[in-house]
Symmetry: C2
Subunit: 337 residues, 2 copies
DNA sequence: TTGTAAGCGTTATCAC
DNA sequence: GTGATAACGCTTACAA
């Protein structure tokens, strides 16, 4: 790979002149410019962004730290991020933590070393370690999807508590009184928030005592296992509230295995839609989060921070969710008929 | 952010000594090391990878250029790439071209500037431009998912022609004689290959004349439109062969709209499974490509190239596909009953 | 065991 | 209009 020196030599000028041509800065003789451009294309010269970044302390690179790109919700978030970033000439490094604190810490360390201009973080845990780490090193960041309680940071997410509340309201209106919640890791804010919304909805109807919430992981396997456990309850629940799409899929499998038709035997509602693109025949009643917008707006916010060195107040952007009622939820059937 | 000089000053040594501590190279007095380590943690010092990369001409960063991370097939590829990369301490920048040549060229330019160590490329077109560009600049790369005909490059993909052949064979065995192919852009190798496999299967049964192949895009919309066109054929097809999952979903929508039940009225088979994680009740007969393995092996191959400077022969890794027969394909119903 | 000098590829600054 | 010089943060080679 040729350098600015090679180009300079070939064009019979100094590197500085080449630099000026590349960056369209300063005055330059028309003829000189032509010679330089000729040399550039002859050599297939491409400027070294590393050297540039070293000087400018700007890499035009962001990092997206999520739990798992394979989750369609995060896939869509990622697309929103990449679109917003590339619009402004930024590249995006992506990292999968699988909810592991260690992996998260490791990734953040590498990213800081690589001098990314900013980080979009879906925290694997609510502890302030990662936040503190980035802050100390003065790396701008935005937390997305999950809120971090008690810290003043930029955040973009949906109101999980409220979304869960809506879903449970819906079930209550249908007549359900035994609803089990199948959630993710208790240490993850969204998992906890969704259970909180569930409890609030029940409490408001004086059903606080009927609440049964299981914490597990945001995976199909976990959803499957939690559902199996919930089925052993007595009285048996008439509805499941899954805290995300993977858990819902796992629960549906467990129900099928147990020959319990949905929604006839048990209703199922969940957070996070499966992508429209993949659904021939949407079935699940869900609270949909605007994944693409979350990614996009978080990135916008981050990029704003980068240009505005002025450290404004931390902003919390809460995007609206949408309740979509489909066939997986119906009125419970009477037991003694 | 503090530099190696800051650490050196605080520890009362030279930057070189700090460097040695960080990299565990050369001899160093135990006490000095302790002092340096103390200074490092006190300052929260993180080495600047940019400066390092500038010297070593190694960024430990790869790029993944795909068409759309939102396609679950590519999502899984991406996960395979990231896993394999991070195992070896590499980061991954991801880019979505949406099958646009211009976007692809633009991205590659930026990536070369950023001195990525290698590129994993799903080419938006079969022309040799991108390949030539990378080659001239001596950036190692591996082409994945799609083959580039007539060029000697590292490639990892499945045998699209053969996969399509299998799907059509399956339909033929069920008794179908009017099968329409709904494919992607003719300029994209996989789209063309899949149609070729379709034609070969038909030709072997002496049905070459019945072949009707439509080229469009690898999107739901396109699948929808192509299916609508195909339905106007006379005689009407008894089966659709979709060249990828998005096209299949679009086709299924068109069929539902036309009140044509699958598979009773029309069978549908396709390339690329929808992710297991999203399917409560898998329905489509598919040829599954091992997406994760494609990503993983392509990355391995690329990383091998990076360590083995020895320019070995280009390798073409062809991974096996898997025919999965489900409910979307069945024997055609007799017209005159 | 530790330090000095030079250079990786750019560009801002100041001369000419 | 154009060029020499120094600096961004780090490490290899050499010296002490």
């Amino acid at each position: 790979m040729s350098t600015i020196h090679d180009v300079a030599k070939l064009a019979g000028v100094s590197p500085m002149t080449v630099s000026r041509v590349i960056n369209n800065s300063g005055y330059i003789h028309k003829e000189t410019r032509a010679r330089v451009e000729q040399a550039i294309s002859e050599l297939g010269y491409v400027p070294n962004a590393l050297a540039r970044s070293l000087r400018f302390k700007q890499t035009h690179t962001l990092a997206l730290v999520i739990t798992d790109i394979t989750n369609p919700y995060f896939t869509t978030v990622a697309r929103g991020v990449e679109d917003a970033a590339s619009e402004q000439g930024f590249s995006v490094i992506f990292c999968n933590t699988d909810e592991s604190r260690d992996d998260e810490a490791e990734y953040l360390n590498v990213l800081v070393q690589k001098q990314v201009d900013g980080v979009l973080l879906v925290p694997a845990h609510s502890s302030p370690d990662s936040i503190a780490f980035l802050r100390e090193r003065e790396v701008p960041f935005v937390v997305l999807d999950r809120r971090i309680p008690g810290t003043q940071v930029d955040m973009v997410h949906c109101d999980s508590e409220q979304g869960a509340y809506q879903l449970i309201q819906h079930l209550l209106e249908l007549g359900h009184r035994q609803i089990a919640a199948l959630s993710g890791p208790e240490a993850v804010m969204t998992a906890a928030d969704r259970v909180a919304g569930y409890r609030r909805a029940l409490a408001e109807r004086g059903l606080a005592d009927s609440a049964v919430a299981y914490f597990g992981e945001f995976t199909i396997d976990s959803g499957y296992r939690l559902a199996k456990r919930a089925l052993k309850l007595s009285p048996q629940p008439t509805a499941f509230f899954a805290a995300n799409n993977f858990i819902a899929v796992g629960a549906l499998r467990a129900l099928r295995e147990a020959n319990l038709p949905v929604p006839e035997a048990i209703s199922v509602v969940t957070f996070d839609d499966l992508p429209e693109s993949m659904l021939v025949d949407p079935f699940l009643t869900v609270v949909r989060q605007p994944a693409y917008e979350i990614g996009r707006q978080a990135t916008r916010l981050l990029l704003d921070r980068l240009s505005d060195k002025a450290a404004a107040e931390p902003r919390e952007i809460i995007l609206p969710t949408q309740l979509i009622i489909r066939r997986s939820s119906a009125a419970p059937q009477l037991k003694e008929t």
